[in-house]
């Protein structure tokens, strides 16, 4: 089968690889119909995630048709069209029993701190990703969901990560009616977090980024007030002044380790890899939150450490909430939102690219070319 193949930082290509096979009685083999490139795939693409091995296939946002089932799978049938949550979860461990499906303890021998994620380095379990024609799906009774007939597959594929992660970012913010919410990052997750902030009753939503075309998109889509931090002398001071000098009730970091805006963080985090990515967005989030406010983190960082003003977290009495989205927990509610027209996931898709052109798709997305917000890879015959 054909699959994306990582060759090193900034280098990917298409390769012929062996077909995946059932390796565990609860496995399924799925023929991929849609597979997105996620903003967090760019952390891998840029060589920022430890134990990203040459020869790996990325991709944790995908839909597909069930081709084969292991003997212990009972909830799926061959031929089902399923969306597959990005986190792999057993459904019965200490953490899954508490709906912490992103923190399963039965999926990743390489790290206790990280759950299992398709195609996200060996630090996240060493699984093959979905940027391929076929993929092995473990614990097939727990994660994959047959999506309703009325749902567009382009909506379904965004329910595997982008929508639940953006939604959980807003949910973890504990937004109360009338709250001012600031979102750092106008990528797909930031856009979705801004949209979902309204669902929780936000009174004002502000999005910060440095790409004008993305700010224009979220301004109309969320809708939101938008500001380009490159046009501001000091983004934190600006946010304080525009919130009566107090700061925002809730601040969401939807950027993670690829953040731009500070030379020191870029040097230490992105170039020298001495930090787990550039943490300037988190730094700004902490400093622009109101005293007693909440910082919600869904931006992805590596497992080492970052320079952030933790003293300000203490002195301002901030609450920090963070996690990988628990996709399986959120799906029923999010499907209701899509059906009701509260969320339009597929509107984020700007590029549909044949799997064969995966290298171009990565470059377009990483370099923010051609107005790219969300690229979807489509295997031949899908």
């Amino acid at each position: 089968m054909l699959a994306m193949d990582y060759r090193g930082p900034y280098r990917v290509r298409l390769e012929e690889k062996p077909m995946p096979r059932i390796e565990h009685p609860q496995d399924a083999i799925v023929r991929v119909t849609r597979s997105c490139i996620c903003g967090s795939d760019l952390h891998l693409y840029h060589g920022m995630v430890p134990d990203t091995r040459v020869g790996s296939t990325f991709g944790h946002e995908f839909t597909g048709v069930v081709e084969e089932l292991g003997p212990e799978v009972s909830n799926l049938q061959v031929g089902d069209h399923v969306l597959v949550p990005f986190n792999i979860a057993c459904g019965q461990c200490h953490f899954c029993k508490q709906s912490l499906f992103g923190n399963c303890h039965e999926v990743n021998p390489h790290a206790t701190a990280v759950g299992g994620i398709y195609g996200y380095s060996h630090t996240a379990g060493g699984y093959q990703g979905g940027q391929a024609e076929y993929v092995r799906v473990p614990y097939a009774d727990v994660g994959p969901m047959v999506f309703p007939d009325w749902m567009d597959p382009d909506d379904a594929v965004l329910l595997t990560d982008v929508v639940p992660t953006g939604y959980q970012a807003a949910e973890m913010g504990g937004i109360q009616k009338g709250d001012t919410v600031v979102v750092f990052g106008a990528g797909p997750v930031g856009i979705m977090a801004a949209r979902c902030a309204w669902l929780f009753g936000a009174g004002r939503v502000i999005v910060i980024d440095h790409f004008d075309y993305r700010l224009e998109f979220v301004k109309a889509y969320a809708p939101a007030e938008v500001y380009n931090f490159k046009e501001l002398d000091d983004v934190v001071t600006f946010l304080k002044h525009t919130t009566d000098g107090l700061g925002a009730d809730v601040v969401i970091d939807a950027v993670g380790g690829d953040a731009k805006g500070n030379a020191l963080h870029t040097l230490f985090g992105n170039k020298l890899k001495l930090e787990a990515g550039s943490a300037i967005a988190l730094h700004w989030a902490i400093n622009s939150a109101k005293k007693g406010g909440i910082v919600s983190i869904v931006g992805v960082y590596g497992p080492t450490g970052n320079m952030v003003p933790i003293g300000n977290v203490l002195n301002k009495g901030l609450t920090i909430r963070a996690n990988q989205a628990s996709v399986a927990r959120l799906l029923p509610r999010l499907i209701e939102h899509v059906r009701a027209g509260h969320i339009d996931p597929k509107a984020l898709i700007t590029h549909r690219v044949p799997l064969e052109d995966v290298a171009d798709a990565y470059h377009i997305f990483a370099a923010k070319l051609d107005g790219c917000i969300k690229p979807v890879l489509v295997p031949g015959g899908a």
Partner: protein, 166 residues
């Protein structure tokens, strides 16, 4: 550390004055993403899934008390990078050395990938792997600038090499 030091000592909470008098179930910053209704968080036992069996080498964090039931079997460790990875797993996830060694192994692995390509007679098309076609289509000025810089640096290296030989 001895077994005696690590063994749990049961505590009779009924003998602790005031135990639990200020407990407040609403004081839960993990709501709603942590559902404690099915498990109050103290039970640490669960019925383990069937254990996956494989001949592929899979490295394990020393922080685990058990080997997780399911795991990925892609790209097992091998070569120099594999040796570095095996060594890295002698340290826990809490040690920077663990992660820095894995990052170092990743860089070595890139060189190994090039060597493997050449060994099987495949010259990697690095510009295509880096999306040069997309750069040409959507950022022609950037493409030309990068091409000029690459050509200039290459010419400089060749000149330096020739001088050092002469």
């Amino acid at each position: 550390m001895s077994e005696a030091r690590t063994a749990r000592t049961p505590v009779d909470t009924s003998k602790i004055a005031g135990w639990g008098v200020d407990a407040d179930p609403e004081n839960d910053p993990t709501y709603p993403y942590r559902d404690r209704s099915r498990d109050h968080g103290l039970s640490t036992d669960w019925q383990r899934p069937t254990q996956q069996r494989s001949d592929v080498e899979v490295l394990q964090s020393i922080e685990y008390k058990h080997f997780p039931a399911v795991y990925g079997t892609t790209v097992p460790p091998r070569g120099v990078s594999g040796a570095i990875r095996r060594a890295a797993f002698r340290w826990s996830e809490s040690h920077w050395l663990h992660w820095l060694m894995l990052m170092g192994a990743d860089r070595v692995n890139v060189v190994e990938g090039l060597v493997e390509d050449l060994a099987r007679g495949k010259v990697p098309n690095v510009p295509a792997e880096m999306g040069a076609r997309a750069e040409w289509e959507h950022n022609r000025q950037g493409f030309l600038t990068k091409a000029a810089v690459f050509a200039g640096v290459s010419a400089g290296v060749v000149l330096l090499f020739r001088r050092s030989k002469g």
